[in-house]
């Protein structure tokens, strides 16, 4: 699989705080990368740099093998990087199609200044329906305002919106944090579908079960550094947690401990 996004030597300071310290990251097309770490580990700073909210002090970002300067969220989006933040950034007073196209409305004719162009509402509606359909997202009423939809439906719409416009990378910040079991299920299914469509997906999550289920690779950060990488599986969960909390020696769960006759020695 081709490398969709590569970050090399990313460093970011906020005053005296070193938020990112020489971070490397690679994510491939058709891969789900989980970005893990405790609060303040630098995950959010890293994705904000990738999505153009912050600029790196040092280091470089390559998208599809080409070095880019992501000076603003708009530039990142133009490079095919879409981010779904925890607050979803949805418009409760608008329908899914208007949400999809907010700020990038299809409209014409071209010779008019953009604000005065006539919306191509049918075209946008069709395209939205097509994307939702392709991602097998079913809504009770596709024309209802997003504000009338449940948390899971809203999350799914936000993710689908990102997927619709992301030609390279979809970044999801805590996509299942506020959802119930069934609604989380729908979002996880959607993430798997994004992968099968060839998107590179970066997921920030604290839900280890969800990470184990959808992620091909888990990268753990602590204090602005990458401290390890694992293939998420029920077996590696312990090691991942140990990396996150940063006391690998005390918390590690190496195979010989489990088979030792004295029983479990881990805390």
């Amino acid at each position: 699989m081709s490398v969709a996004l590569a970050v090399r030597g990313a460093t970011k300071r906020f005053g005296a705080v070193l938020a990112l310290d020489n971070v490397d990251l690679e994510v491939h097309s058709g891969e789900v990368l989980a970005l893990l770490g405790d609060n303040g580990a630098g995950k959010s700073t890293l994705i904000k740099c990738i999505s153009g909210v912050h600029r790196l002090d040092a280091g470089e970002i390559e998208i599809g093998g080409v070095p880019v300067t992501l000076s603003s969220p708009a530039v990142a989006r133009a490079h095919g990087v879409e981010t779904v933040y925890q607050d979803l950034a949805l418009f409760d007073n608008l329908d899914p199609s208007a949400n999809f196209y907010a700020g990038r409305e299809q409209a014409g004719p071209k010779w008019l200044p953009r604000p005065l162009r006539v919306l191509r509402r049918q075209a946008m509606q069709h395209a939205t329906t097509e994307v939702l359909d392709r991602l097998q997202v079913t809504l009770p009423d596709g024309a209802a305002n997003v504000g009338l939809m449940s948390g899971g439906q809203r999350q799914v719409i936000a993710v689908a919106r990102a997927a619709a416009f992301a030609s390279n990378v979809v970044i999801l910040d805590e996509p299942t944090a506020a959802l119930g079991v069934r609604e989380s299920r729908r979002v996880l299914d959607l993430i798997l579908r994004l992968r099968s469509e060839g998107h590179a997906v970066i997921v920030i999550s604290h839900a280890m079960d969800h990470v184990t289920e959808v992620a091909d690779r888990a990268m753990v950060m602590r204090r602005g550094r990458v401290v390890g990488e694992e293939i998420p599986s029920p077996d590696s969960q312990g090691r991942i947690v140990a990396l996150i909390v940063g006391s690998a020696n005390e918390f590690a769960d190496p195979p010989h401990h489990r088979t030792s006759p004295h029983g479990s020695t881990t805390v």
Binding site: P73, A74, R77, D87, A89, L90, F91, D92, N93, L94, A98, A102, G103, R104, E105, A107, R114, P115, L116, R117, V118, L119, Q125, H126, A127, T129, E130, L132, D133, R134, L135, Q136, T138, L139, P140, D141, G142, A143, G147, L148, M149, S150, G151, G152, Q153, G180, R182, E183, R185, R186, D189, L192, R193, S196, E197, G198
Partner: protein, 370 residues
């Protein structure tokens, strides 16, 4: 759901679907079957909530129709052409103001200065007329004065990074009124140009010109709101300003344009008002800002931004007009009028609260069904 499925079927050629998504994960299939099953059972309540929300949305129109019907029964004069024309010409200025106010309220803002803007534009228009300007010039000047006040509001709000437009429009409410008094020496400037007089006071048979002006403004703004990118940006800004900014909506320009247009429409209201009075008066438009806000809210727009249509604003303005006119016809003590209007405002806001609660229940229901 049906529309989604059918539209999707014709829109997506099967070949375009990636092979992976054709093989539906078993879990999803199971999930949607459960939803259908639940749907069959829970449909009744779901539909009831939908109907209730629909009624609330139509509420203001229904109430206006009810009011008109009641007045028609109570007073033989009410539905005569003469009185209908009267109601229309009294409501026209408020309605035009309300359309402008709606734009501002859609973005979660408020414009307190529109009443004073009427006075300033009227006085300046009268002065320009007295200095020999012809009709079109007078009208252009009045509109320009209105737009200028609006631009000042928007400019200070956006570039001055004020926390809320209340402050700056409160300031221009005061300043524009003061300027109008200053320029006119505190006295109405008698006489207006004939176009203004016709637009404000003339009529075609019993239908006042100002009613056509009102309809024209309403249709124009409604089209801009619903059909143009600019209108979509207004709703986006009012719905979630932060998200709008992040998705690339030029929020600052949108806000400034909204205040400028609201000021411009105050200029239109000034034309109607001074035409009716046949004078540019520094006291006209007093408290009109409150009428315009009341009209928008009574019409059913949300004070929290993002919800409301031009029809809402028109209906609200007409409702205020009908209540005032009706109470006059019925010889109700004039002091009662503001109390009734106040009660209607409370009713409208409570309805909005109920709407929000119903929508919340609707959401919960959806989560249960999905």
């Amino acid at each position: 759901m049906t529309s989604l499925a059918s539209a999707g079927d014709e829109a997506v050629p099967t070949a375009a679907r990636p092979a992976a998504s054709i093989s539906t994960p078993a879990t999803t299939t199971a999930g949607s079957t459960t939803a259908d099953h639940h749907g069959a059972r829970g449909d009744g309540r779901y539909r009831l909530l939908r109907v209730a929300l629909q009624v609330i949305r139509l509420g203001p129109v229904l109430i206006l129709v009810g009011l008109v019907a009641a007045m028609w029964r109570l007073s033989p004069v009410f539905l005569t052409t003469g009185n209908a024309g009267n109601v229309l010409s009294q409501s026209a200025a408020i309605a035009v103001l309300a359309v402008g106010q709606l734009l501002v309220i859609l973005t979660r803002g408020i414009d307190l200065s529109v009443g004073s803007t009427i006075a300033l534009a009227s006085v300046v228009g009268a002065i320009v007329f007295q200095h020999g300007a012809n009709g079109p010039v007078v009208i252009m000047v009045m509109l320009a004065v209105g737009a200028a006040v609006g631009f000042v509001n928007g400019g200070f709000f956006v570039w001055g990074r004020l926390p809320h437009p209340f402050i700056i429009t409160l300031a221009t409410l005061s300043a524009a009124r003061g300027l109008a008094l200053q320029l006119s020496g505190g006295q109405p400037k008698r006489g207006v140009t004939s176009i203004v007089k016709t637009l404000g006071g003339g009529s075609v048979r019993w239908v006042p010109y100002s009613a056509f002006l009102m309809i024209g403004v309403a249709v124009l703004v409604a089209i801009m709101l619903k059909r143009l990118v600019w209108g979509r940006w207004i709703y986006a800004t009012g719905g979630n300003a932060e998200a709008a900014r992040r998705t690339g909506v030029p929020v600052k320009s949108v806000l400034i344009s909204v205040y400028a247009l609201c000021g411009l429409l105050a200029g239109v209201a000034a034309i109607i008002t001074s035409g009716r009075l046949n004078a540019g008066s520094p006291t006209s438009g007093n408290l009109a800002e409150l009428d315009s806000i009341a009209a928008v809210i009574i019409g059913g727009a949300s004070f929290l931004g993002g919800r409301g249509t031009v029809v809402n604003a028109l209906v609200g303005a007409l409702m205020i007009g009908v209540i005032r006119n009706g109470m006059n016809l019925l010889n109700v003590n004039a002091f009662l009028q503001p109390i009734v209007i106040g009660a209607v405002i409370v009713l409208a806001v409570e309805t909005d609260v109920i709407r929000a609660r119903l929508e919340e229940r609707f959401r919960v229901r959806q989560a249960e069904l999905s």
